[in-house]
Every structure is written in C-alpha cells, then in structure tokens.
Amino acid sequence: MIQYRQIHKSFDHPVLSGVDLRIDTGEMFALFGPSGTGKSVLLKTTIALITPDMGDVMIDGESVYFGDDGSLARARRKVGYVFQNAALFDSFNVFENVAMGIPEDVLKRMPRMELARRVWEAIELVNLDPIEVLEKIPSELSGGMRKRVGIARAIIGRPEILLWDEPTTGLDPINTAAVERLIVRLSDNLEVTSLVVTHDIEGGLLFCDRVAMLDQGRLRFCGTPDEFRRSGDPVVQAFQDRAAAERALDMAIEHD
C-alpha cells in the first residue's frame, strides 16, 4: 500500500499543493492530469527521486522520509520504477542494464548462471527475444524495445510495487496497445501494486481498478473508471473532452 500524505512541492512555482492519495495493495491505479500538473513529480516523491517540501509517503505503513536510516533503501527495494524514456544506461548492454535491477547485495552473491537465467526470464516476460537483444546497447534498440528493456529492469528485482511514468509516451498506437497489455499482464502475473501515470486516459480507464486526476497541484478526482466517466465535475469533463479530441487527432494523423 502506498499513501501520499499532504505532499507539497514547489520549483519556481507550486507544483503539488497538499496531495493526499492512497493506493491499496494489489490495486492497479492510474493517475491522469494535464501536462505540468505534477503527476511525474508525485510519482518521483514515492522513492525520493524528488524530495517533497512538506508531507510524507508511506509504503506498507513505513514512512519513506521520517523513518530510520534504512527506510528509504527498503522502500526502493520494494519498488520497481519504469521511467518515461526508459532511462537505460548508455554504456551498458541490455544484459547489464537488466541485471542492474537486481539489488546489489543479492547480485554480488548470485551465481553467474542464475543471473543469466533471471535476466533471460525478465526479457522474455516483456515479449523480447533474449538472443536478439541481450548483447545490444540501448542506442541499437527501437523506442518500443527500450521501453520493454526498462520494464524488464524494473521487474527483475521482484518488486511489490510498480511505478509507471508515462509508459506509452512516444509510442505508436500498436506499441501503445502492446505496452498496455504488458502492464496488465505483468501486474496480474507478478501480483504487484501498480501506479500508472499516463496521458492516455482511454487505456488507463480500461485496465485500472481506480483512477485519479490531478489539476493545478491538487487531487481533483479519485474513484473508479465508471465514476470518472460519469463525473459531473466540469474540469474532469473538460479534461476528458480534450483528451478525446487529442486522441481523435492522433488517429487521424496516423491514418493519413
């Protein structure tokens, strides 16, 4: 379970202004919102990639920011983070990138064969061919393949929570659908809690148990996908209309 408690964060201007949110264990949760409303910032506060100015994050009841010396390390160990642009290490090949997802102390003790098996398994789980990609460096991979390798790196450490930062951004519709199916399959198979930050509200509404919407640094909506669709809140409605129009435009461009 992840709990965000009164998260405040400002850069030049306030980005998050007291966000309270709870994601239950095993839940698939999507976070929507217009660009610049702090979705990714909130996601990054979960494991202190960005430190909030005020507030705390609790993971399975343990404070990330006000716990003991090891609380942040324990939180990071429980979490697999899928970055927006995969954030693969340029100088490492795919094998080394994925292997980095295994905690350092475990990796040091792990026999080479076991490591190879785990990496192979993770690559297969994200629907890539290990023989084809393992020796490649990130610059030799397509955008969709890089995303999948990033996902493999996030899941190989067997996390309890997966955080997805715009997992379908920059992908064509076919790859978007494939990655969305992958998110659902992995979340089910690995029995993890998933928090997905996405601009693709159609996908999010399809595969998530609950959704929330951030607007101007505050939580504007939190509920089931059906409640989101039927919401009478004009801001939520306007956001849905705008997203639908953008999607139609994208499809028209793709069709041309």
Partner: protein
C-alpha cells in the same frame, strides 16, 4: 545575501558534501574497479598525445623567447635553467591542467549531465545504487592517479623540446643546456610540480562531476552547464596556481 553570494555558498556546500561522499566510498572500499580503470584509460592514455604536443610547444616557446632575451652579458647556459624551471614549475602542470579541463572535464560534465537529464541518474537511485560511488568517485580517483603522470610526461617532453630548440635557435649545446638546468635545480621543484598536478587532478574531475550532477533542462541545459563547468574549472586552476608560490615557494 545577494544572488551571487548565495550561489557561491550553494556550490561550496554541494562540493563539500560530494567530496565527503566520495571519501566515504573510498574508505568503505566501494569504488568499482572496472569504471576506475576505464577512466584511467580515458583520462590518461587518451590524453597523452595532446599532452605531448602541449608540453613540447611550451618547451620550444620558452626556449625561443628565453634565447631572444639572452643576448647580453648573461651566460647562455642559463637558458637551460630558465626552460627547466619554467616548464617544471609552471608550464607543465598548468598547461596540462588547462588541456584536461577541455578534454576531460568538459567530457565528464556533458556525460553526467546527459545522464541526469535523461533520468539515468534517477534510475541509479531507484535501483538502490549510489551514482556518486559508481560514477563520481572513479573519475576523481582516476584524475588523482593520471594527472601527476601526465604532468611528468609534459615536464620531460617540454625540457627535451626546449633543449632541442635551444640548440637550433640559439646554438646552445645539449651539455651546456643540461649544465644550466642542473645549476639552479632543486628537488623541491619537482615536488612542487607534482603537488600542483595532484591538486589540479582532484579539482578538475571533482568540479566536472559536481556540475554534471547539477544539470537541468534537457540538451540546452547540458550545453549551458558544460560551458559553466569549463569556466569554473579554468578559473579554479588559475586561482589555485596563484596560491602555490606564496604557500610552497617562500
């Protein structure tokens, strides 16, 4: 407190914390040896050609300009001393450092800056790895190891090139040149030269790593931070260089 003062304290504090984190990673023997040796190769071996050229040109120019001034009653063999002292005390360490600012420092800042803006540094954190230990410390340690060696080569090449130039330009024989070089030679001079090299060898990678980790704002941010880092490193080298004579030559 003005914006400038705030910025100076901000950099000083961050550099202090970075240095402490690096010292602790060395004390805890956590430095990745593969990355350390890779940096030795990148900073040291790959810099040798440009250091050789710089050292040789420094020796030649010093010899030629010194020879131009030796037309009076001063014995010509003094040129040997002039070249050796100038190269060892000043030109060797400082020019090598300036070359490394451009070749190594800018590269480190751009490399780490790109990793920062493409979230690779965040990825290290998210995977429970410390980027200071994995990326910062090996670069600074490599700088400490390679800089004195590079300065040693620059000194040697500079003196040899100066000796050849003195023969061709001023007609000073090798024996006379070496006699002059020995006449005012102190072994302390070599210690002074290598101490400078060591200090510059810490400063260049430390500042470049610090600036790389602070990069923000995409490709434009990487460019801006790299330019700032080169200016910061060059100024630091020149200021440190100016502090050496009162501290070690008096």
């Amino acid at each position: 407190m003005g914006r400038g003062t705030e910025l100076v304290f901000d950099h000083a504090g961050a550099l202090g914390l970075l240095t402490w984190a690096m010292i602790m990673s060395v004390v805890r023997l956590k430095v990745p040896s593969r990355e350390f040796f890779r940096q030795i190769y990148v900073m040291g071996v790959e810099s040798l050609p440009i250091v050789f050229v710089t050292g040789a040109l420094a020796g030649i120019v010093t010899s030629q300009q010194g020879g131009y001034q030796m037309t009076g009653a001063i014995p010509q063999y003094i040129l040997g001393s002039l070249v050796a002292q100038t190269v060892v005390l000043e030109m060797g360490p400082v020019l090598t450092a300036i070359v490394l600012v451009g070749r190594v420092g800018a590269r480190i800042t751009a490399e780490l800056g790109t990793m920062k803006v493409s979230e690779q540094i965040d990825a290290y954190h998210s995977l429970g790895r410390d980027p200071v230990v994995l990326l910062g410390t090996p670069r600074v340690l490599a700088g400490i190891v390679v800089m004195p060696i590079l300065v040693g080569f620059a000194n040697l090449i500079g003196i040899l090139a100066g000796m050849v130039a003195a023969r061709l330009d001023s007609g000073l024989g090798f024996e006379s040149f070496l006699y002059g070089a020995n006449l005012f030679w102190h072994s302390w001079d070599l210690f002074y030269s290598f101490t400078k090299a060591l200090v510059f060898g810490v400063s260049i990678p430390l500042i470049s790593v610090h600036m790389g980790f602070r990069t923000q704002g995409g490709a434009e941010g990487v460019g801006r931070t790299t330019t700032d880092a080169v200016m910061f490193m060059t100024l630091t080298i020149l200021i440190l260089d100016a502090m050496f004579p009162p501290l070690l030559l008096n």
